[in-house]
């Protein structure tokens, strides 16, 4: 029998733990893999029963997602010049021609602008507020903090009707600015509370050292506090982005055209020329990517314990 450290789990236990983690990951990833695969199925394959595990991949879903198409008669099809490009070929196999681009690209960009815009604004305002609550003696600060938290104590959708009426009066309905402000208002309480926790953890001595080293408080904030709050800012930003990115109810209610985001748009694909599940799956897959990329990019900050050990406790 080999000896091992008492603080380290034994190899056997490690293996069991690893197997459990992998099994859990597989179960949670299954729906994602299903969506991903469906995006590459043909419409008949996507609704086949029993479901097809092995299938012939096609880009039809993606083509349908990005285009609008018109049905034509076989005679008209014969009269057309040869198809240029893969997309046109796929569409003509279904006796159709591409009529133009769909709204998906636009809606996706709206999601990007509104999602990242509101995340930036929440983090910007949240960091400044959290710093103030953490460092300054603010009258009634506990009550103010509770008030900020209380804005999150009911489901935001409970105030949907007042907001709808207010936005209509203010001309904010169906605008990027309106949606950014709305998502920021919902996210800011989370941002202030999370960031205050992180900033509380940063010892004041760093700023005091910077003040003595000839910097103003704001310069000390930028040069000393922000780099150390990076971990907290990154994780808070991910939470804010995920909420704004996935939000559906307000998007349905307040946007219809110019500012419509992807979540209300994707379901509208169903019903335009039949139940086009591959196109829906393709839209869902693409919709997942930005949050995934953002999270992976910030992963480094989440893991780095940069404030560890420079102040003697």
């Amino acid at each position: 029998m080999s000896a091992h450290s008492v603080t380290e789990p034994s190899p056997g236990r490690k293996r069991v733990a690893a197997a459990l983690v992998v099994a859990y990951a597989l179960i949670t990833l299954l729906p994602l893999m299903w969506i991903f695969a469906t995006g590459f199925k043909s419409p008949p394959d996507s609704i086949a029963y029993p479901p097809k595990i092995a299938f012939e991949p096609t880009l039809e879903g993606y083509v349908n997602l990005f285009t609008t198409r018109t049905r034509v008669t076989p005679e008209q099809l014969q009269a057309l010049p040869p198809p240029d490009g893969l997309a046109e070929t796929i569409v003509r196999n279904r006796d159709m021609v591409i009529a133009g681009p769909s709204k998906f690209g636009e809606r996706f960009m709206n999601s990007v602008i509104i999602g990242f815009g509101s995340t930036f604004l929440s983090i910007f305002l949240g960091t400044l507020a959290a710093y103030a609550f953490s460092r300054f003696r603010i009258p009634l600060s506990d009550d103010l903090l509770f008030f900020i938290l209380s804005t999150r104590m009911m489901p935001p959708i409970a105030v949907a009707i007042p907001i709808f009426l207010m936005y209509r009066t203010l001309g904010l309905s169906d605008t990027h600015l309106g949606m950014i402000l709305l998502y920021t208002a919902v996210n800011i309480s989370l941002a202030v509370w999370l960031l205050k926790g992180f900033i509380d953890e940063i010892p004041r001595e760093y700023e005091e050292a910077a003040l003595i080293d000839g910097y103003t408080r704001f310069q000390a904030f930028v040069k000393v506090v922000l780099p150390q709050a990076a971990t907290g800012i990154a994780s808070t930003a991910i939470f804010c982005l995920i909420f704004a990115w996935n939000e559906y109810a307000f998007a349905v209610l307040l946007t219809s055209g110019t500012a419509q985001t992807a979540p209300p748009f994707i379901p509208t694909i169903i019903g335009v020329g039949g139940q086009d599940w591959p196109a829906v799956a393709a839209g869902a897959t693409l919709f997942l990517l930005p949050v995934l990329v953002f999270t992976v990019l910030l992963r480094k900050h989440l893991l780095r314990g940069i404030t560890f050990g420079a102040v003697r406790k």
Partner: protein, 335 residues
């Protein structure tokens, strides 16, 4: 370089007053060591001079200028914190350069490189310049923290127990180094410590604090030989001064309630003839000195004796005071 003066400064934290009506003048170019027990207001005094705390009452002057309402940056002070407070996201080099890059100084890059190099050399951290500040031992962090103050030439240097976490050898080296720097740049330096060697070897002036007030200011020898109170007397001296009932060795002056005996104030007669009878309770051999713990009529007394003494535990001896210090019931000196 400048004179530092506190005039009637009071600072309270809630109900606790950390500094109470303090008047303290640190002459230009002085090396002022501030002594006092934990909670006496030493660190608060430094922070008041630095501008990290605002006094509730009183004024702070640096170089004759009233700085009470000025920010730390405007006061032109450098400070070494007890907790190092190195910027953890920066390297040692960047930490040392940080004060030089401040908007107040805007030192040219070549100049920064030169000063940082020299300072690192002096503190023997040159080989660690490109390390993250967090990847250093406690002693190295403390040296970087001292270096970050020394790269500048401010009006006043403030140091809060800067040598406390170093090993004995490095502490001795840096004591000499700090004293040399002080002599070289003729800086005004306010230095908080618990360590009597630091106080005795480096200080030109010693200030003893007691419960937020200044008990005595003077040269280190004056504080040692001529303390104004039992409290001040207990701050310096190793082993500590023995404070015993005044009547233990016969009569003292009127009003005297306590006799204060430093180890050198105790005359020992191994034969047990001259003086009050005492019994050896413990012999502590420290190498260069031997501490003798005695019992005099139920009171403990510690003195020094010859390193090669043959006195043993249980031996009956006699002791008598030699030039003792007398204190009244409130602890004030009686002469």
């Amino acid at each position: 370089m400048a004179e530092v003066a506190l005039k009637g400064v009071t600072k309270r934290f809630g109900a606790v007053s950390a500094v109470a009506g303090m008047d303290l003048t640190v002459p230009d170019g002085a090396f002022m060591v501030v002594l006092g027990p934990t909670g006496a207001g030493k660190t608060t005094t430094l922070r008041l001079v630095a501008g990290l705390e605002r006094p509730d009452a009183g004024e702070v002057f640096i170089g004759g200028r009233r700085v009470t309402d000025e920010t730390p940056a405007e006061r032109d002070v450098a400070m070494v914190f007890q907790q190092y407070s190195l910027y953890p996201h920066l390297t040692v080099r960047e930490n040392l350069a940080f004060p030089l890059k401040s908007p107040l100084l805007r030192t040219p890059p070549a100049e920064i490189a030169r000063i940082v190099g020299e300072t690192a050399e002096m503190l023997r951290i040159g080989h660690k310049l490109d390390n993250r500040a967090t990847r250093l031992s406690g002693g190295e962090m403390q040296r970087v923290s001292i270096g970050r103050a020394l790269v500048r030439r401010p009006a006043v240097y403030l140091m809060d127990e800067p040598l406390s976490s170093l090993d004995a050898k490095l502490r001795a080296d840096l004591r000499v180094e700090l004293k040399r720097i002080h002599a070289e740049i003729a800086a005004t330096l306010i230095y908080v410590t618990h360590d009597q060697t630091e106080a005795m070897t480096m200080a030109t002036h010693v200030g003893v604090l007691e419960a937020g007030r200044l008990a005595q200011v003077g040269g280190p020898r004056e504080i040692y030989e001529n303390p104004v109170s039992a409290h001040v007397a207990a701050r310096l001296g190793q082993p500590r001064i023995n404070l015993l009932p005044a009547t233990l060795f016969g009569h003292g002056p009127d009003r005297a309630a306590t006799i204060g005996l430093r180890p050198e104030h105790v005359a020992l007669d191994p034969g047990g003839a001259e003086g009050a009878p005492a019994v050896v309770t413990r012999v502590e051999r420290l190498g260069d000195q031997t501490r003798l713990h005695l019992d005099v009529a139920g009171h403990a007394l510690v003195t020094l004796t010859d390193p090669h003494t043959d006195l043993k535990t249980g031996r009956a001896v006699a002791v008598r005071p030699r030039d003792p210090l007398w204190f009244d019931a409130a602890g004030a000196r009686v002469t």
